[in-house]
């Protein structure tokens, strides 16, 4: 057997069947062996009984994007078996419950089948009760452990990490895992796809977490004091992580809270509570996903126009409308970019891994207060809810930037104050917060027309001045927001741009393209507005592949709007079926474009893009 530590396993079960727990044990065990690995949970928008797939990738080279092909399918959901047998690659392996014989229509050529009589075994060995059906899933963990060489000792460790104080649970799980393991061993079953081998020191010091948790922790370290939210997948777990960590990290000496988390009655309430709290000077946030952004649209405009800070964590899911609420996508970009009616442009921060989720979440409050405006932290389900191995979260210690807040002393010194006056030429005015008792301090905030003194005004000059200053502020932000991460070699003509959860798949895709002769430069976008560095990157390449997870090339539209001179250089790579991006699909689209370009079938880059949209 030649292949070591390169494997993808997909477990097909039904929601609520207990597989969440067995999948977690499986994944953590591989992680503990020191093998770089990631997991993607394709769960249904339902609580019990609908199909769910859990895809683990173990890869010694450290590629953590979803693998294009499935090597092993654990076929534990009768409802989807007819399709699942075709999800596994040729030469792959299917593990199934052979308590009953496999029906003929589930037999397929070119793959190996290995059975484990999971139902029969649990019926025999596990006490009857509500848990028995759930325990059945532990059997495939054992079977896989035997077949691929997952260390039983490690599994035991993971079990005790997971169920620390419940020895009975540990024991019964272990029993079932052992049953699966023994069945494979005793029947001399084996496979020839790959083996997993412990990498000593691998994953040393690393953590496993999801982006939503990292964001919540970032917000806490960023000094969030106010969160109003409304439950919605896939963002709820962010607010729930806040609710989990805050009581521990943020009590004052009297045991009182230095924060408030409010479950609002809807997203409109949530955004307006954020506006109210932000106006008062609290570091206020919400988290939501697409439908929530749509509902928050009106008040985002109020915050933009009245210049009230607030942080909006947006965990994107499959749209439009209710769409696929438990699948991933990056299709709310344009909505965030121009959210609300009238001329608005919003700042968007874009994490791409666990550390940047923590870091940008922390900094988002500084950006919001500096620019006195709503700031989006754009996540997606893949980043937010899937488990990612990562270096530990790291706190950059620096003072909070509260922006241009004037204290009573400042007002005394300055002797004057106009809330919406551009004192510094950067479009950002000064601000006071309620509680400031200086006679100059108070002002009247409003979403209607106003002059630089915050007085009601319908005067066209005041109005245009305000609009222009707001645009100026956005221009100022270009140099302030997180810079892109760039890999550049002057020899390369082609560039690749991506952002968010695509980073891993793109890294792998670039390596593969390199292997097939195409060296690319890379820009990992971390914020809007687009900065000078992005412009330079565009200027330096003849072709730029802009990879995003939506149908319409939403980020490409923003690039074309902002850099018309480079509009034709952009070739969109679009993945939008709701599944996490894979390197293979990226490579396929890039090569398709290159082929078309060299064959002259499509000479103009932009037209190929148009066609692609129209014909797929």
């Amino acid at each position: 057997m030649s292949v070591v530590n390169d494997l993808s396993i997909c477990v097909a079960t039904a929601n609520g069947s207990g597989s969440a727990s067995s999948n977690n044990i499986l994944f953590k065990s591989i992680f503990k062996m020191g093998i770089p690995c990631s997991s993607k949970n394709m769960f249904p928008s339902n609580i019990q009984g609908l199909p769910t797939w859990y895809q683990i990738r173990a890869n010694g080279d450290g590629y953590l994007g979803r693998k294009d092909v499935i090597d092993v399918m654990v076929m534990f959901n009768d409802d989807t078996s007819d399709k699942d047998i075709y999800r596994v690659r040729d030469g792959g392996l299917i593990i199934y419950d052979d308590t009953k014989p496999l029906p003929d229509d589930l037999k397929r050529d070119g793959v190996q089948y290995l059975g484990v009589p999971a139902n029969a075994l649990v019926q025999k060995h596990v006490e009857a009760g509500p848990l028995r059906a759930k325990q059945r899933n532990m059997l495939y963990v054992g079977a896989l452990a035997y077949l691929f060489g997952i260390d039983m000792e490690t599994i035991r460790e993971v079990l005790s990490d997971t169920f620390g104080n419940k020895p009975a649970v540990i024991e019964s799980n272990l029993l079932c895992i052992q049953l699966g393991y023994d069945h494979m061993r005793d029947n001399n079953l084996s496979q020839s796809i790959a083996m997993l081998e412990t990498i000593p020191g691998g994953n040393e010091g690393k953590i496993v977490t999801e982006g939503n948790t990292a964001c919540a922790l970032g917000a806490i370290y960023g000094g969030v004091t106010f969160c109003a939210w409304y439950p919605i997948t896939p963002s709820s777990s962010l607010a729930e992580a806040l609710e989990r960590y805050l009581p521990r990290l943020r009590k004052d000496k009297d045991g009182k809270n230095t924060y408030a988390v409010i479950q609002a009655e809807d997203e409109i309430a949530a955004t307006n509570m954020v506006a109210g709290a932000g106006w008062m000077g609290a570091r206020a946030m919400t988290s939501t996903s697409g439908p929530g952004v749509s509902l928050m649209n009106e008040t985002l405009g109020l915050q933009y126009f009245a210049e009230i800070p607030g942080v909006y964590f947006i965990i994107q899911r499959g749209g439009p409308s209710t769409g696929l609420p438990t699948r991933t996508q990056q299709a709310d970009i344009q909505l965030m970019h121009v959210a609300s009616h009238g001329d608005t442009r919003h700042i968007i921060l874009i994490p791409h891994d666990m550390k940047s989720s923590f870091d940008l979440a922390r900094r988002s409050f500084d950006v919001a207060e500096r620019f006195q405006t709503p700031v989006f932290v754009m996540m997606d389900l893949d980043l937010g809810m899937n488990l990612w191995g990562s270096d530990p979260l790291e706190l950059v210690q620096e003072p909070f930037d509260r922006g241009k807040v004037l204290s009573q002393e400042d007002l005394d010194q300055q002797g004057s104050f106009a809330r919406y006056l551009d004192v510094d030429g950067d479009g950002i005015p000064q601000r006071t917060i309620p509680g400031n008792r200086h006679p100059l301090a108070s002002y009247f905030a409003r979403g209607s027309g106003h002059d630089s003194h915050a007085r009601y005004s319908e005067d066209e000059k005041d109005y245009k001045e305000t609009l222009d200053r707001l645009r100026q502020k956005y221009e100022t932000a270009r140099a302030f927001v997180p810079k892109p991460l760039v890999e550049y070699d002057a020899d390369n003509n082609a560039g690749v741009i991506c952002f968010g959860s695509s980073a891993e798949a793109v890294r792998e895709a670039r390596d593969r393209l390199r292997a097939s002769g195409l060296e690319t430069n890379h820009l990992l976008l971390r914020a809007l507005p687009l900065s000078e560095e992005v412009r330079e990157f565009m200027a330096a390449h003849e072709v730029v592949y802009l990879m995003e997870q939506n149908r319409d090339g939403q980020m490409a539209a923003i690039f074309r709007e902002e850099f018309p001179e480079f509009a034709t250089r952009i070739v969109s790579i679009l993945i939008y079926d709701g599944l996490p991006a894979t390197a293979g699909e990226i490579v396929r689209q890039v090569e398709q474009h290159r082929e078309a370009a060299t064959n002259g079938i499509e000479t103009k880059v932009d037209e190929s893009w148009q066609k692609q949209i129209a014909s797929i």
Partner: protein
Amino acid sequence: MAKTNRVDLTERDYKGAESTMCRGCGHDAISASIMRAFFASSVDPRNVIKMSGIGCSSKTPNYFMNQAFGINAVHGRMASVATGANVGNHAMIPLGISGDGDTSAIGLGNFCHMMRRNVNITYVIENNGVYGLTKGQFSATADEGTVMKGGKINDIPAIDLCELAITLGATYVARSFSGDRKQLAPLIQGAVAHKGSAILDVLSPCVTFNDHSGSTKSLKYIREHLDPLHDIDFIPPYENIEVDYEEGTDQEVTMHDGSRITLHKLGHNYDPTNRMQAVTALHAAVAEHKFLTGLIYLNEERAEFVDDLNLCDTPLAYLTQEQVQPSPSYLDEINAELRK
């Protein structure tokens, strides 16, 4: 020299920008009562936050207490903005102004939830039964059978905001009339002293779009159908006035901060602390086409929202980095947990 109150301010210090209401608009009269009440209660405007939605009524916070911070938010969402503001800095005294359209139409859901949480606020609805600013369409407090300026008749029953407030859990519920400053000012004083959601549904004629005959919110109609429950006085905590109470006719309620509200009953045998009686009386009044005014319901027992949140004493908005950023060692701890 002008008379000053206990915080050394004169009535002038409670003024705002010049009003842009139509001459004779009820809303201006309410502003006057607000200024009087805050002056009389010696509330420093710098401790007040003024909030509103959109509408003629919602413009008025600009026309009193210049020294208070104010916000004119979007249509119908003041209740939520106020919730955020109250929690963001619970040391400020929240005053919300809204219209019947703002509150009972677009804002109804959020308004209900604010009351359900018993958020601390003095929430004044300047109720004229129409949308003034958009030129006179019916609002959801337009009474069944009332006539629009153009002649259209309303077929749908009005939402009784006081009944709704009681149903949803508001703890201080009053109805009054813009023209009755003697009743309205002490009601506002009581509302400010009260900790929790104080809802004041104030009939406030729109002289431009809803003052014609056939309208049940015209000045004339209102005056003819007023039915005050009691004469009302507000006595601040620092005043040791002894009042002679008449058994069965007078009632005194002491509030948490020591303020007292005295009610001198007018015909009605009415106890505002009795929830069911309140609902029954309101309901009867609708049937009789009467506007019951006065303190309709009071509950001094229920905790206000920020108490449920167990907030630290320093307002959230004023916490420093030292107070809110956990030490890095906690992050190490968490990283260690995330290794498991």
